[in-house]
């Protein structure tokens, strides 16, 4: 985009002043180069979001923002229920509560290299990945509802994980006020055999090495040191979340007129928070958050089993689990008088980044701010950041979520062959395992933007602080 579309507030904060039907301004956190690289659609979508009823302060876009559905991906917007605020299925996305979790291993690179092929093979064998794959767990009606109400806590109670994992998961592993009864039979049917599956597309499981530490003090508090091996999982609520997103997108599009909402774009479909559709979505969406938390918890159990069999000395506590497609009820100071307001904060492709002292993060992170986990593309690198104090005043304590594509799937498929990508990465010591060579070609590392530029901008803008960089040794791709 051209920079003259914006009012530059600082090197990392670019404003679209309120105009036309906008109720608030729009703000993009990025540097000039990232803005110039962004699609013009990000501008249009950030402006459209700013027209929605009850929006508070501004419509925000993160440094990795790109053209999404109604909301930009990398979009953040908060709505006040007492000011006619809305909730939007498009503002959360189809893959509800898609997120990243990171586990320690207590291992070093040398431990992995000795067994790297065996480890990659067994992870691929035991962690179901790709189109049409099913898990070992099949849920009947009652267990489905228990899972949708209980989240990771349900999974731990069933033996898939440790009690200690829960305090290292957002919402303590269980999203409250979920309403499984508002989840359709179709959504439940899509999920029946999908618990503990990775999915496809940009979802993955990686064994990674800490290759850079930027903030030694916070890294130490997170339990990360140079050369440490960690495991990251990127996936979401699978078929159940997709179906809920699909159904409520339509319900909200069809009822918007009756609620007196003029939509600049049908994809922005939303409903007043206090309407029946709004409340039904909230209950179903929260159930989908539990589904994603339970799914990542079961995957955790599977991969711990693999490490136990190959590297029994591994100790694998959870570092943290974050979600980047959500709408959550949070208290924020917005009026300058120190009073808090309860707001529904949508983060579509944006990670919550609560800073030091925030009451909703585990005690162990109260001094550092919460870990903010940013997944990169296959074969490049990912980052661990920490929430900052000033982030609340910037974009309701939110940061970026990933690299974002630089090239379409179609173009990637014309440019690379899956086998060639696998061989090139293997030559660099990175083992990729996937059921689909075409999927690998479409996800080739160079098809994505440089995650480092995005993370640097998030750090410089103050959204979150860089703590460590990790690089993959093994990647299981759906």
């Amino acid at each position: 985009m051209e920079l003259d579309l914006f009012t530059r507030r600082s090197d990392y904060e670019w404003e679209i002043p309120q105009h036309g039907a906008m109720r608030v301004p729009a703000l993009i956190y990025a540097n000039a180069a990232l803005i110039q690289d962004m699609d013009r659609k990000v501008y249009e979508q950030a402006v459209n979001v700013a027209t929605l009823p009850g929006i508070v302060k501004a419509s925000y876009a993160m440094p990795d923002a790109h053209w999404g559905y109604g909301f930009p991906i990398g979009g953040v917007a908060a709505f006040d229920p007492d000011a006619g605020g809305v909730i939007s299925a498009g503002g959360v996305g189809f893959d509800i509560s898609c997120g990243v979790r990171c586990l320690h291993t207590g291992l070093k690179r040398a431990d992995i290299v000795k067994v790297q092929k065996e480890l990659a093979g067994m992870l691929y064998h035991r962690v179901p990945a790709g189109v049409g794959s099913t898990g070992q767990i099949h849920l009947g009606e009652r267990e489905m509802d228990a899972m949708l109400a209980g989240g990771a806590k349900w999974a731990v109670q069933r033996g898939w994980g440790l009690e200690a994992d829960l305090e290292r998961t957002e919402e303590d592993g269980q999203m409250k006020h979920a309403r499984p009864g508002k989840v359709s039979p179709q959504a439940k049917k899509r999920q029946r055999d999908e618990m503990g599956t990775l999915g496809s597309g940009n979802h993955y499981l990686e064994v990674q090495e800490v290759t850079q530490v930027f903030d030694a003090k916070i890294a130490a508090a997170f339990g990360l040191q140079l050369g440490d091996i960690v495991v990251m999982i990127h996936c979401g609520s699978r078929g159940l979340g997709h179906q809920i997103g699909t159904e409520f997108l339509k319900k909200m599009a069809v009822t918007a007129g009756a609620h007196g909402i003029a939509l600049p774009d049908r994809e922005l479909a939303c409903a007043p928070i206090d309407s029946e559709v709004g409340q039904d979505y909230l209950g179903a969406m929260r159930a989908a958050i539990n589904c994603a938390l339970a799914n990542r918890q079961i995957l955790t159990h599977l991969l711990r089993g693999v490490f136990h069999d190959i590297l029994p000395q591994a100790e694998m506590p959870l570092l943290y689990d974050v979600s980047h497609n959500t709408c959550k009820l949070e208290e924020h100071r917005v009026d300058g008088n120190g009073a808090t307001r309860k707001l529904y904060v949508h983060r579509k492709g944006a990670t919550r980044a609560f800073g030091p002292g925030h009451p909703d993060i585990p005690l162990v992170f109260r001094e550092t701010g919460q870990p903010v986990l940013i997944g990169g593309s296959m074969g490049t690198g990912s980052y661990v950041l920490a929430g900052t104090k000033e982030s609340e005043g910037l974009a309701f304590s939110s940061a970026c979520h990933g690299a974002g594509r630089a090239m379409s799937r179609h173009q990637a498929l014309k440019t690379w062959q899956g086998r060639q990508v696998v061989d090139e990465l293997a030559a660099r010591g990175i083992l990729i395992r996937s059921p689909s060579m075409r999927g690998i070609a479409e996800e080739a590392p160079e098809a994505y933007k440089d995650v480092s530029a995005v993370v640097d901008a998030a750090d410089a803008a103050g959204l979150a602080r860089k703590v460590a960089r990790v690089e993959p040794l093994v990647c299981i791709k759906g």
């Binding site: 699609d39 659609k41 790109h66 053209w67 999404g68 559905y69 109604g70 991906i73 498009g90 996305g93 189809f94 893959d95 790709g130 189109v131 049409g132 794959s133 099913t134 179709q186 049917k189 899509r190 999915g199 496809s200 597309g201 940009n202 078929g239 997709h242 179906q243 997103g245 699909t246 997108l249 339509k250 599009a253 069809v254 774009d265 049908r266 994809e267 479909a269 974002g404 594509r405 379409s408 799937r409 179609h410 173009q411 059921p435 689909s436 060579m437 075409r438 999927g439 479409e442």
Partner: protein, 136 residues
């Protein structure tokens, strides 16, 4: 070409053309299968009935794709041939295909849902076009 893909950042657009609206819907469904695999590798072993309803043509088209996505996901199937009838705001039809076989289909990615981004159903220069972006 009676169907094609078009680019949308992280995802992909599916577009079908036809002498009738129904044919354009069928061709767009074929384009959606091609997001996952080469439709020529999919055999017609099973038939699945589809029915849906929406207040206008464009929402109905999105519903059609979403009904197929649901069947693909819940039955773990891929479809290669489609036939449908449109009556006002109602659609009824069939899809023929088979269960996913990773060894033969090399499925690249699963489709999560049909979005309303660039959603369009229209008669243009004498032929129908039906298109939208699918989230993968």
């Amino acid at each position: 070409m009676r169907w094609e893909h078009y680019e949308h950042g992280a995802d992909i657009g599916v577009r079908g053309y036809g002498a009738s609206k129904a044919e354009a819907f069928e061709q767009a469904a074929l384009a959606m299968t091609a997001v996952v695999t080469d439709p020529a590798t999919v055999e017609q072993r099973e038939r699945v009935a589809i029915a849906c309803e929406a207040p206008d043509d464009e929402l109905l088209f999105a519903e059609w794709l979403n009904a197929l996505i649901y069947e693909m996901s819940a039955r773990r199937m891929l479809f290669t041939r489609f036939a449908l009838r449109l009556e006002g705001t109602r659609l009824s039809g069939e899809a023929w295909g088979e269960p996913v076989d990773p060894a033969r289909h090399h499925p690249a990615v699963e489709v999560k849902g049909a979005t309303y981004t660039t959603l369009r159903v229209a008669l243009e220069a004498g032929r129908w076009i039906a298109q939208t972006v699918v989230d993968v």
